[in-house]
Structure formats: structure tokens, C-alpha cells
Symmetry: C2
DNA sequence: TCCCGTAGTTCGCGAATTATGAACTAACGG
DNA sequence: CCGTTAGTTCATAATTCGCGAACTACGGGA
């Protein structure tokens, strides 16, 4: 099992980011990681959008996100802890993540959720 | 030859846009259309980035951009005139195009060129 | 120490997508 | 009509993707 490869900030490409996020499941994962308070294990995403994502597919999704430079993954015991590399991306492409998330929320009919201390929709 | 299909604004998806622009040649085409003063024919893009793009491939690129809702194509005599659907996209996903173009320019080392009456680089 | 369960990775291969040369179509201009 | 220009469609080779099955890594008992 080869160790993970995380690209350096300056090697992150727009192309890679767009490709990674052009898959709705990956976008959902990334969106979650963005407004998660703590690192998330892969297992937390076995269900996305009412679909059960096969383990191997999930693993690929994380690999694509990782190699695009969007997330950082680190082994912690038996699980992988994933966090977004948001501040780094913001440095390289200021405003990009914001715009993507905003568009994603708008399409899903959500208001730009979670950014400010996750106010929850009322029942 | 079937007539072109342009999605309605409300049918434009983020997924489609990201997929379309995750190809550097398509991003280059779209970037050009964005700050072109007049509609551009496909033939203007037979060379992208020092590569000669085959006609059939070019045609596909334009189809992908069109079906993603990013551009509008219309036959004018023997050629196709292409324009960006920017204002429509801006309505659906405010700020998205700006952010994408900014990121693209930044990666190419250009300053956000052309927006205001295409000032030309000096020789 | 050895075995087990959990979490995730890698392999392999069928399915889907993409790239592109070749053939085709549409719109003019003589 | 014929030729030219501009672009589309078709066929197929090459690439990428999705996912089940097998594998690896780690931690926890007994």
C-alpha cells in the first residue's frame, strides 16, 4: 500500500479541481468536509444522497479529491481522517471555493449552509 | 443534421459546467468567447495553445459547451457563430463565472485579462 | 503472540466515455 | 450545377470509470 500523495499548493490545477468536483458525489463529500468541525473518516460517507456508495468507489472518490489537492487524508489508527485543504486552495485560487459552494447550494435549493456556525433549518 | 439544443437556464447544472470546463481546451475556448467583442466561429479555434485541434474534436468541444449551457451557437451562412451565455449563467450561479475565469487567469499567470474593453498587451 | 474485526486500498474487467480520421451535409459564390 | 468552406456525424480505437472480490494495515483481546 503506497503512501498517500498530496500535491504541493503550487501544483494544484484548476483542471484537477473542476474534474474532481464535476462528480456530484465528490462535490457532496467535499461540501461536507468544508463545513465539518472535525476531520471525517471515509466511513461517514457510505451513504450519499440516499445512495449506498460501494467501498471501492468511495476510495476512488477520496483519491481523486486528494490528488486534486482539495483534501488531506491521514491515517489515524484503523481509519482515515480527511480534512479540506481550504485555506491553501483559497491562497492559490482566491474566491473559487466560495463560488463553487455557493453554486452548489443554490442548485440544491439550500441557502449557503453551515458556513456560519451551521444554523439549522426549522422543522 | 439535427438542430442544436440549448438548455433552458433553469436546466443548467453545476455538474455540467464543471465537467465542460475541466478540459483545458474547452476552458480556453470559453475564456476567449467571454471576452470576445463579437461572436466567434469555430474555425477561430483550430489552434489552441499551440496544438492543432482536429475538426471533429473541436465540434465535440463546442457541443459539450453548448449542452452545458455555457455558450449559444447559431448558424450564420456557412459558419457557426458562438457567444457566451454569460448573463444567463450569472443569473443562475452568481459569481461562478468570475471565480472560474479568475482562477484560470491566475493559473496561466495572466492578470484577469480583457474584461474591460480588451486592452491589448504591448508588443 | 496469534487471531479477529474494522477501515480502507488495490486488482481486474466489463461498461461508459472520449478522441479522431473518414465520410457526409449545408450554405454560399460563381 | 460544381467547387469551396465550415462544420457534423459515424465508426472505432483508446482511455477512463465503477465496482465486486481479494488484499493490507491497524488495533484489541485472550
Amino acid at each position: 500500500m503506497r503512501p498517500f500523495t498530496h500535491p504541493a499548493v503550487e501544483d494544484i490545477t484548476l483542471e484537477g479541481i473542476l474534474h474532481a468536483l464535476s462528480d456530484p458525489e465528490r462535490m457532496a463529500i467535499y461540501g461536507c468536509l468544508l463545513n465539518a468541525e472535525a476531520a471525517q473518516s471515509c466511513a461517514n460517507f457510505q451513504k450519499i444522497n440516499d445512495r449506498t456508495v460501494p467501498k471501492s468507489t468511495l476510495s476512488q472518490h477520496f483519491r481523486v479529491l486528494r490528488e486534486a489537492g482539495l483534501i488531506r487524508s491521514e491515517r489515524r489508527g484503523v481509519e482515515m481522517l480527511n480534512t479540506s485543504r481550504r485555506t491553501e486552495i483559497d491562497k492559490r485560487f482566491p474566491g473559487l471555493v466560495d463560488a463553487l459552494v455557493a453554486a452548489w447550494c443554490r442548485q440544491a435549493g439550500k441557502s449557503a449552509a453551515g458556513r456560519k456556525r451551521g444554523r439549522r433549518a426549522r422543522a
